[in-house]
Every structure is written in structure tokens, then in C-alpha cells.
Symmetry: C2
DNA sequence: CCATTTCTGTACTGCTCGGTATGTAATTGA
DNA sequence: TCAATTACATACCGAGCAGTACAGAAATGG
């Protein structure tokens, strides 16, 4: 077999839908209904394709969900990476929580957060979905913890601050806000909570 | 029909199981697997009864779930009523959060909190379960808000404190901790978060 | 042109779901 | 003893589930 490095058109019949656009629709359905509450009929109807096309493009329901979560992290949680780039520990935390509150209450998206609404309990699949989502959230918490450790090293968080504990606290507030947002609390309500929560964050040194 | 006020034995064949004990088993299954992740087969197997007995005693799956949540609130959240009886606003909050952390990590019960794990997303039932649980959590939040308003009136929280906002903040922390507990964080980890969270709570006046 | 490859649409599979019909067992009241 | 009442156990119902077989359609390569 000879493979040339030029990008050649693929062989058979071309796909008649945009796989990323269809994935965006799947994100929204999973977000609104959770993993277990979403049927393949729901998914394919929203994606505008039929079952075999879905299986060919994404594997199965489980794989589709994982890809949906990955795309959600890339697009709907871009604010988190932005927040980590702020100059001081306090600003990182405030920016993260404020942007999180905005994301939880966007009118053009479902209320709340896919990585929590997707599935918390160990349902029929022995909790694989819940474990996957928990691991995904933990990755975010660890990234925040590393950033806050750097803030302690930089001296813009007090020496001796428990960066990992503080990161966990910030994630706890964001997750609690997600639960409240899913229950219908509006953006102002979440920001009032953040006003209080920020009082626990140490400033300068 | 003549009804005498003496307690008379019921007419037909007596029930062969303890309805409250069976309900406790149902609580545990719903808690571990969520509403949608729990089948009637799961339930009746855990309760040690068969389907018609369940339907006769509780109505249907939805009613059984509501009764399970009510029993959960009565038994597994008794600590909340105890916390509200503490003398000062700060003590109410600290007691609530500490006891909540204990309840979320009891080794003889599922990790986390039924009223969150039970169902967050609007699944197949148009979100009725999620709405019911949200209303149930909101009732707790309102009770806490009233208690904190009294604390402000009593002068053991600073005048001008937003009791409703503070109550919501406390619930946010407890819900975030519940999400973390469901993901496997242990009691010490939750208490470290509470140590930080309590710094945001105003003391005396 | 035709063989090959890949995708699409319909219709289907086996299975599990929540809920129930039916016959029988156990108790009460007369 | 016997009718009435209530609960139990088996076996079933239509519906919806995740996943797939298969035949036709649309592209490429020769």
C-alpha cells in the first residue's frame, strides 16, 4: 500500500451532514435531559440524521455522549481557560465564578451544566457515565489547583494557603450554583451567592 | 354504615411485609441509582415484594419515589431540623454544614444526597421529578432563610445581612459538597471545604 | 462503462420498561 | 361454615429501548 501525504478525497459516498453541527445538537439534548433520559430517537431527531448514520459516525450512545462532553468542555467551558489566565489568584477565582454563572444562565442554552446534569447517580450502566463526568470535573479542579499553587508561589495568595482545598471550594460553589441554575435561579441570584462566596477567598498577603 | 371509634383490625388478608421497612429499601435504591436509573425490578427485588404488592401499597413508581423522598427528608435529613435549633446564626450554619458533610459520607448509606442524585435533568417525564426535588430543596432553603432572618432580628448576625442570600449560599455549598461526595470525596475533604466556606459567614455584629 | 467503497433509509431484532389481569391464599364478620 | 374482603404470585401487556440487517444511493478509481 502506497500512501501519499497529500490530503485525498475519501472514497465512497460522502456524508450528507456536518458531524460537528450534529454533535452540537446532541450536546444540547444530553444537557437538557441527561444521559439516561435521552433516547436514540431523541438524539437522531435533534441531529437530523437516522440511527445507522449516528452509529457509523460516533460508535454508539456512550461514545456519542463522551464526544458531546468533550465538545461541551471545548466550547461551553472555554471561559474556564480564560479565567486561569488572569494575573492573580483572586482574579482567577472571581473571573471563573462570574463567567460560570453567566454560562449557567445563558438564554440560548439549557440552564445548568452538562457535566452535572448529564448524570450523577450510578444508573443502569454501573455508574460509568457518572464516573466519567466526575473525572472530567476533577480534571478542571486540578487545573485550578495548579494555577492557585502558582499564585501562592507568586505571592498573590497568602503563603500557606491550601491551594487544592481552595480550588475544591471554588468548584463546590460552581457546582452548587449549577444545581440552583438547573432549578431556575437566575443570573442575579447566582451572582449574589458569588458575592458572599468571594469573602472566603484570601486576598493579597 | 356504622363506624365505632375503637381501632378495629382491618378486614381482608393482612399485608405480609413492613411497609416502612420496604420503603427504606426503596430510598436506598433511588439514592444510589436515581429515579430514571431505577427499574421496578430493582425496587421490588430490594424491597422483597412483588409488583402488585408495590402498586397496592404505594400507587406507582412516581408515588413511591415521592414517599421515598419524604421518608428520606424525615430520617436522613433530621440533622437539618436539629441545626436550625442552634442558638445563633453562625452556629446554625456551621452545624448544618458539618452535619450535612457527615450525612453525605456515612459508610452505611450511599454517598451523596438523594434529593440531588435522584434526578437533576428533565428526563422522560418532562422534568416532573427534577421539579419535585428542586421544590423540596427550596423548602429547606426557605426554612433556613427564615431562621437566619430571625438571627438578624436577634442581633447575632450583623444588621443588614441578606438572610435569603446567605441561606442560598449555604445551600450552594451543601449541594456542591453533595456532588463531590457522590464523586468519592471523603468526609475530611468536605470539612476542609467547609472550613473555607465558613470564612464568608459574618459573625456577631 | 463497471467494480468498489461508503453512506442513507426502512424496517427489524431481542430485550426491558412501567403497569396489570387473573386466580389463589389468608383473614374478618356473620 | 360461608360470603366478603384484601393481599399475594404468576404470567402477561403494549410500548419504548439500544442496536442492526439489508437494500439502494452516491461517490471514487480504473
Amino acid at each position: 500500500m502506497i500512501c501519499v501525504t497529500t490530503t485525498t478525497r475519501e472514497r465512497g459516498r460522502p456524508r450528507s451532514f456536518d458531524a460537528d453541527a450534529a454533535l452540537d445538537r446532541a450536546v444540547e439534548v444530553f444537557w437538557r435531559q441527561g444521559y439516561e433520559g435521552t433516547s436514540l430517537t431523541d438524539l437522531t431527531a435533534a441531529m437530523g440524521i437516522n440511527r445507522p448514520s449516528m452509529y457509523a459516525a460516533y460508535g454508539n450512545k456512550d461514545e456519542l455522549f463522551r464526544r458531546a462532553v468533550a465538545r461541551y468542555a471545548e466550547i461551553d467551558m472555554a471561559y474556564a481557560r480564560d479565567a486561569l489566565a488572569r494575573p492573580t489568584g483572586y482574579e482567577v477565582i472571581e473571573r471563573f465564578l462570574r463567567a460560570n454563572a453567566d454560562a449557567l444562565t445563558r438564554t440560548d442554552r439549557p440552564a445548568g451544566c452538562l457535566s452535572i446534569q448529564g448524570g450523577l447517580a450510578a444508573g443502569s450502566d454501573d455508574g460509568h457515565v457518572a464516573q466519567f463526568l466526575a473525572a472530567s470535573r476533577l480534571a478542571g479542579e486540578n487545573a485550578l489547583a495548579e494555577r492557585l499553587e502558582r499564585a501562592v508561589a507568586d505571592g498573590d495568595l497568602p503563603a500557606g494557603t491550601d491551594a487544592a482545598g481552595l480550588a475544591r471550594y471554588v468548584m463546590v460553589v460552581s457546582e452548587g450554583n449549577a444545581v440552583h441554575a438547573a432549578a431556575g435561579v437566575d443570573r442575579a441570584g447566582l451572582n449574589a451567592v458569588i458575592d458572599i462566596a468571594l469573602r472566603a477567598v484570601p486576598r493579597q498577603s
